[in-house]
Symmetry: C2
Subunit: 137 residues, 2 copies
DNA sequence: ACCTAATTGCGAAAGATTCGCACTTACTCA
DNA sequence: TGAGTAAGTGCGAATCTTTCGCAATTAGGT
């Protein structure tokens, strides 16, 4: 018996669209649904945008991808990896910096102690100004 | 000469709509444009939603209000006050906790040292689980 | 191969925000 | 004080993003 495909292991049907959505997320790093659709269309031109949305949601439900909000609006997706990271995003130029989660433990610890709040730094990025953008306002 | 109205001081024209939008933001605490519109309509039923959007933007430009993103989507507005605060928001129940900015200084300091990143905790909320929602998942 | 439920494509709907433009109004200053 | 002018408003339509309903297709179990 061959080892089952990772999608099948999660109890999902293996469709070309689903596989392509997952690999698009993985290769793009952090991508909007529209980005993902565009990438998938390179090998599967007919894919519908709603199929992309639905698969992103499905893949997130089984823990293969995650979404985060980098700026003012919508979601961007990235592969769920072993190493968690927080997102820093420059509100000027949009650059994205990934920070090992340990870097934030002092904050999360004190929010827990003082407010009983369990911080999830994956979901919403931390906004601010990158070094370059801070220097030349 | 009477002291000029605060809106006039900022170089803005004083219209009933604008004044009402500002006072709605102040009294509501944290509110969506729709919330603001609803409040304003209590005394000025005819106000148009696009007038609300435009005034929120204008008021933000002159520093009287600020917007922040509490959840997955749109903006909520609050009055720009002397005391800065970070926003904690529960991704389960939506409760909002305001945290004095000092509470976060260890994090912002280390992000600055390690990444040259100037954190703005006003713009994007910190996501997580409140105490209640963490206990009963 | 066959059956069934999951998945897809499609078009429409919904929700949020922005825009163009003609009309109104707050302020300037003669 | 009363034009004149530019800022502000209302209205409707346009955009943009995300979601839905439904009929047609297809993956996986038997
Ligand atoms: Mn924003
Ligand atoms: Mn989200
Ligand atoms: Zn930058
Ligand atoms: Zn909660």
């Amino acid at each position: 018996m061959a080892e089952p495909h990772e999608l099948r292991e999660k109890g999902l049907r293996l469709t070309p669209q689903r596989e392509l959505v997952l690999s698009a997320v993985r290769s793009l790093g952090h991508a909007t649904p529209e980005d993902v659709a565009e990438r998938v269309r390179q090998t599967h031109p007919g894919i519908n945008l709603s199929t992309v949305y639905r698969n992103l949601e499905t893949l997130e439900n089984v823990g293969l991808v995650q979404h985060t909000h980098l700026g003012h609006g919508g979601a961007t997706y990235h592969a769920a990896e072993a190493k968690l990271h927080a997102h820093l995003t420059c509100e000027r130029c949009g650059v994205l910096i990934e920070v090992p989660i340990e870097e934030t433990s002092l904050l999360t610890q004190s929010l827990l102690n003082d407010y009983g709040f369990h911080t999830d730094l994956e979901h919403l990025a931390i906004s601010g100004r990158c070094e370059d953008c801070f220097e030349k306002p």
